[in-house]
């Protein structure tokens, strides 16, 4: 299409049969995409259900499913109340510890009973690094 053809095209060249044909392509295509993705959505939802069920039964899935176990996170916070920390922002600390434990437990049900601060482990860590830097024969 060139500049000279443009007014002609816009005004006359698009026949109604062509438009109807294009409309058919539009409707079919859009419905097709909706149906295919709806099918995928359904399959994915079903698969999700199956996976959730197997997780409840087995509970040994490597990447845990927290929504299947909503209780632990909720339980963790109140359980962390009696924390006796070093006088800093205890709520934040409890939340961080609860989140870390939740990640480590990979979503398995758990309850935090107490949080105690350990001794400063810098010397121990230094020793560990020195030892681990040598290959034991």
């Amino acid at each position: 299409m060139t500049i000279e053809h443009l007014p002609l095209t816009l005004a006359n060249r698009v026949e109604s049969s062509e438009l109807l044909n294009a409309m058919g392509t539009l409707i079919t295509g859009f419905l097709f995409v909706i149906i295919v993705l709806a099918m995928l959505s359904l399959i994915t939802a079903l698969l999700g259900k199956v996976f959730k069920m197997t997780q409840y039964k087995g509970g040994s899935e490597p990447e845990g499913n927290p929504s299947a176990h909503p209780a632990p996170a909720a339980q963790a916070a109140p359980a962390a109340q009696p924390v006796s920390a070093t006088g800093q922002d205890e709520d934040e600390l409890a939340a961080v510890v609860a989140a870390a434990i939740h990640t480590m437990m990979e979503g398995k049900p758990h309850r935090i009973v107490s949080i105690k601060s350990s001794q400063p482990g810098w010397a121990e860590e230094g020793r560990r690094q020195i030892f681990s830097s040598h290959r034991v024969r």
Partner: protein, 493 residues
């Protein structure tokens, strides 16, 4: 003095015209936007630099290699204008050439009708004139030219050998009618561009995109696949708009896909259906993707109430590795069974994703995420840019395509938002309609826009992960639409 004149003639100054200068301006504007405004710089820099190269009188950069010359149509050879042994030499700057006799000026037509002189247009020798869809016995007078007669020009420099047809011979489309021989090969970008022409680069980019994409949010909330589907309405609506604007069906399909906001898919489809429109379509797609944060928010705000924008969605569950692997396989099998033409895109997307999620081929996954996608992006961008020659790009068509692309983008955004609102009528767990707009692909920019708009309504609302669902669904949706268009409009090979 003669030496100075010869020296000047060997430089490229004499070949510069206003179109080139205008394209330099466009290229520099794109470079400015990429470098100083950071609008999709990873793509705009190679595209803009390619455009600059395309509009310089280069040598050994884009020229085609010598080889066979084929008939473009079934029909009869009306005129043979060059003889075996003639030396063909193409100019450094190739202009857009006329395709039929009706495109020729009166003077050239006069020479063709009444003399045996060889004819060149913009320095490119005309080799043959072929009349389509007829047989020799149907032609009364072969010396009279017809406005629809096809012109066949030389595409490479070299010596004309093996002229295998004479005036009056019947030929079929693709038949070798002569050969240009040269010891020199084609230009650098002739070979790099083969990655686009042979449809290799877009699927390779999809491999990287798959390796970079986490389908977890989509698997955790499969309803969002519908948002990705709804956003494809913009593609189809623009397809209709392009038909009304006078484009053919193939071109209309390729233009419509801009609404999918997926660069590689746009290039893939444009190359399959309307290769001559590749440059404006690619530039339009990437420009609007860069402008997502400007185009989408007004549409999103216009279609939603403050309360809707404040909807907080339930936090999404974590998805297991096995679930992600099964999803990759299921999408591959279902999509390819339903739309075989989408196989290169969907297949590579899901291969990349499977490598990412299986956690046993980290080296391959990382290579896809970094080296492969980076290398291909350089070549893809420059290959698109190199097609932006002034005489091809500075057309009314380009402006119409840019406008239609914008319409496509707007309708896609609106469709996603409206679909989310419609789904809220049926589902108990409400969806924030702002994530509907992320159904246009533009990963992850569109999802980020949903997040930003959500936070404007409620600073404690975090929509990013929810918006990633429709965002990646949009990638699958656009690839399916591309496959659908190729199947229906006949671009399949």
């Amino acid at each position: 003095m003669e030496l100075i004149v010869e020296l000047y003639q060997n430089t490229g100054f004499g070949l510069i015209d206003w179109r080139m200068l205008f394209m330099w301006f466009i290229a520099l504007t794109l470079l400015y936007l990429a470098v100083f405004k950071q609008f999709e710089p990873l793509l705009l820099v190679p595209i803009a630099f390619g455009a600059l190269l395309a509009n310089l009188p280069t040598r050994g950069l884009i020229n085609k290699p010598a080889g066979e010359v084929r008939s473009p149509v079934d029909g009869v050879v009306i005129q043979v204008l060059q003889q075996e042994g003639d030396l063909i030499r193409l100019p450094a700057v190739l202009r857009r050439l006329p395709q039929t006799v009706s495109d020729l000026d009166a003077e050239t037509l006069e020479i063709l009708q009444n003399t045996d002189e060889p004819v060149s247009i913009s320095g490119v020798p005309l080799l043959f004139i072929v009349r389509s869809d007829v047989h020799m016995d149907e032609i009364a007078d072969i010396t009279r030219l017809h406005p629809d007669d096809q012109l066949v020009f030389a595409e490479a420099s070299g010596r004309l050998v093996n002229v295998s047809v004479e005036e009056g011979d019947d030929v079929f489309a693709g038949q070798v009618i002569d050969e240009i021989y040269s010891e020199h090969g084609g230009g650098l970008f002739h070979y790099i561009q083969l990655g686009v022409i042979l449809e290799i680069f877009p699927p390779l980019v999809f491999l990287g995109v798959g390796a970079l994409t986490d389908f977890g949010p989509l698997i955790a909330n499969p309803r969002t696949l519908l948002l990705g589907a709804a956003a494809q309405f913009g593609v189809f609506a623009t397809f209709m708009g392009a038909i009304i604007a006078g484009f053919g069906k193939d071109a209309a399909g390729a233009i419509g896909i801009i609404g999918g906001a997926d660069g590689p898919t746009s290039i893939f489809l444009a190359n399959a259906l309307a290769p001559e429109l590749l440059a404006p379509i690619a530039v339009s797609a990437y420009s609007y993707m860069a402008l997502v944060p400007i185009i989408q928010p007004p549409i999103m705000r216009a279609l939603t109430t403050q309360d809707e924008r404040k909807i907080k969605m339930k936090s999404i569950r974590q998805v297991t590795r096995l679930e992600k692997l099964v999803f990759a396989i299921v999408v591959t099998v279902v999509c390819i069974l339903l739309v075989p033409a989408a196989s290169p895109l969907i297949g590579m997307l899901m291969l990349g994703n499977f490598m990412r999620e299986c956690h046993v081929v980290d080296r391959l996954s990382k290579t896809s995420q970094n080296e492969i996608i980076n290398i291909v992006t350089i070549f893809l961008g420059t290959s698109v840019g190199i097609t932006m020659t002034g005489d091809r790009f500075l057309q009314v068509d380009t402006l119409i395509i840019l406008f239609l692309g914008l319409v496509a983008f707007g309708i896609s955004t609106a469709s996603g938002v409206i679909m989310a609102k419609a789904m809220n009528l049926f589902f108990k767990n409400k969806i924030n309609p702002l994530i509907g707009s992320a159904g246009v692909s533009a990963v992850p920019m569109a999802a980020r826009v949903s997040q930003v708009e959500g936070q404007k309504a409620d600073p404690n609302n975090f929509l990013l992960m929810h918006a990633m669902g429709p965002n990646v669904a949009g990638v699958i949706g656009t690839a399916l639409v591309a496959g659908y268009f190729i199947s229906v409009l006949g671009g399949a090979h």
